[in-house]
């Protein structure tokens, strides 16, 4: 009888496929995983605490630095929470512009997902294409607000600037090419047999498990639960648009990939409708120079590319928030890593991590 023993392996924090600085402690029995413990905190900057020392306006650039891949969605979450707290009515035009930008950012974020999934599975070419296409979206944002990553474009009460004609034509141009781009990903990756072998029937997360863990976003929808805040808790005029919510069946890596791929086309649909029906009027509400929301607290949620982005803000009536807590979807989704890895092989950890799509800036906050 051979005596065997489980052993521990540390993966990360400096590992090319941990999406930043994530460390995972793997307990292994040979190649099989018994346990996977994510260990985080390497990128902790204390943003929640920093916000307490800043005025409501000054807090905004810090939200860019949470989920830096989809800063627009974070800006949106923060601004709508403050607006709810201070009872500011956002003009319709601003709401539409916000929707356009949030959805464009969702597409960009999903492109990063596809690219990093490909490179994590060893397909370097598969990475280059989505990253190249994402650059087109970043060009639009650069033209719009002067930054490629940290936009601070969505402001309390509206948006920073109106949509210029050039920006609109850039968006049109991009949308016209998007179908070709997605076809290319399908040719390169979706149809690739190795890609399919690696993703199908691995790291299954059932609907029950996902709901128990509080998973949200595409990950939850891949497990077959239809829950999207854009439909279930509409905000920012999402009720005006006609779009569907792609769902998965099994909750394996493949479903998580396909759901995100399909979401990109749905986002494009929303943008097209928003551009076609863009109302005229103001792009910024009248907001006092010194914003002092009334005493009280608010919790407001929006649907980011990774799930439910929630801001809990407590106001003591002064110009600075008393406390801000941020519900970061990546942080909560990452907790599923253990369940998703148990019983699978070391090589599958990388795929599981990739399909969770965590952004460490958001995990550590």
């Amino acid at each position: 009888m051979i005596q065997t023993e489980s052993y521990k392996l540390s993966m990360g924090p400096v590992h090319p496929s941990t999406h930043g600085v994530l460390q995972v402690w793997l307990t292994l029995d040979g190649e099989r995983i018994l346990r996977a413990d994510p260990c985080m905190g390497y990128l902790h900057r204390g943003i929640e605490k920093l916000l307490e020392k800043r005025t409501y306006f000054q807090c905004l650039p810090y939200t860019d630095r949470l989920d830096y891949v989809s800063a627009m969605n974070n800006n949106l979450g923060y601004c709508s929470a403050v607006e709810k707290l201070a009872q500011i009515e956002v003009p319709k035009r601003a709401q539409y512009i916000r929707v356009i930008m949030a959805e464009l950012n969702r597409i960009a974020s999903h492109m990063i997902f596809i690219g990093s999934l490909a490179v994590d599975l060893g397909a370097t070419t598969g990475m280059i294409y989505p990253f190249r296409d994402r650059e087109r979206i970043l060009d639009i944002f650069n033209e719009l607000c002067g930054a490629r990553m940290t936009y601070s474009y969505i402001r309390i009460g509206g948006v920073k600037s109106d949509l210029a004609v050039k920006v609109i034509s850039m968006i049109d141009d991009f949308l016209a090419k998007l179908t070709d781009m997605i076809d290319e990903y399908n040719d390169l990756l979706t149809g690739n047999e190795i890609f399919q072998y690696r993703l199908k029937n691995t790291s299954i997360l059932t609907a029950k498990q996902a709901m128990e863990l509080g998973i949200t976003g595409p990950m939850l929808r891949a497990s077959g639960v239809s829950y999207d805040l854009r439909k279930d808790n509409t905000y920012c005029s999402y009720e005006d648009f006609d779009f569907s919510i792609p769902l998965g069946e099994k909750g394996d890596n493949w479903d998580r990939y396909i759901v995100r791929l399909k979401e990109m086309s749905e986002s494009a649909k929303i943008i097209k409708q928003a551009l076609a029906g863009l109302p005229t009027g103001e792009f910024m509400a009248k907001v006092p120079k010194v914003l002092k929301p009334p005493k009280g607290e608010v919790y407001d949620v929006t649907e980011g590319p990774r799930g439910e982005v929630g801001y809990h803000i407590v106001s003591d009536g002064s110009a600075k928030p008393y406390r801000v807590h941020i519900r970061r979807p990546s942080f909560i989704n990452l907790q599923a890593l253990d369940i998703m890895c148990r019983g699978y092989l070391v090589g599958d950890v990388v795929a599981a991590m990739s399909t969770i799509d965590p952004i460490m800036g958001e995990v550590d906050c």
Partner: protein, 134 residues
């Protein structure tokens, strides 16, 4: 057929191999920055500036350190306009806060340096240097 997907993928690569190049040969070739681009150093138009310090007040990360001097005619002058670029979030709030549009970005993105201290500069001093050099 097994392996068909691989061939289809290979065809995409081949198509692009002979297609137009996406990359530019930096640093020989540079992509122009957009009108709204925020980055590089802050340029202070001293003729316009009224030394009100609103820009420093809007800054979320205290990246601006201004010293205002009052001369014999009770006129306010900006003596030092220190921008600690290492603390800067490039949020543009200072530029937007200025009531007289005295601030702008020089849009030079090649601003990395070896030492942290070199990130801090004085916009007023930079103006003097520019005057000297014509």
């Amino acid at each position: 057929m097994q392996g068909k997907g691989l061939l289809v993928g290979l065809a995409v690569t081949l198509k692009h191999f002979f297609g137009k190049k996406e990359t530019v040969q930096y640093p020989e070739e540079k992509i122009p920055m957009t009108e709204a681009f925020r980055g590089g150093k802050l340029l202070l138009d001293e003729k316009k500036c009224i030394s009100c310090k609103l820009c420093a007040m809007a800054c979320p990360n205290t990246a601006l350190d201004l010293t205002v001097e009052i001369d014999e005619n009770k006129k306010r002058h900006m003596k030092n306009y220190i921008h600690k670029a290492g603390r800067c979030l490039y949020c543009n709030f200072c530029v937007e806060a200025c009531p007289v549009d005295a601030l702008s970005w020089d849009k030079n993105y090649e601003n990395s340096c070896y030492y942290r201290e070199n990130l801090t500069y004085d916009a007023v001093e930079n103006n003097r240097k520019d005057e000297k050099n014509g």
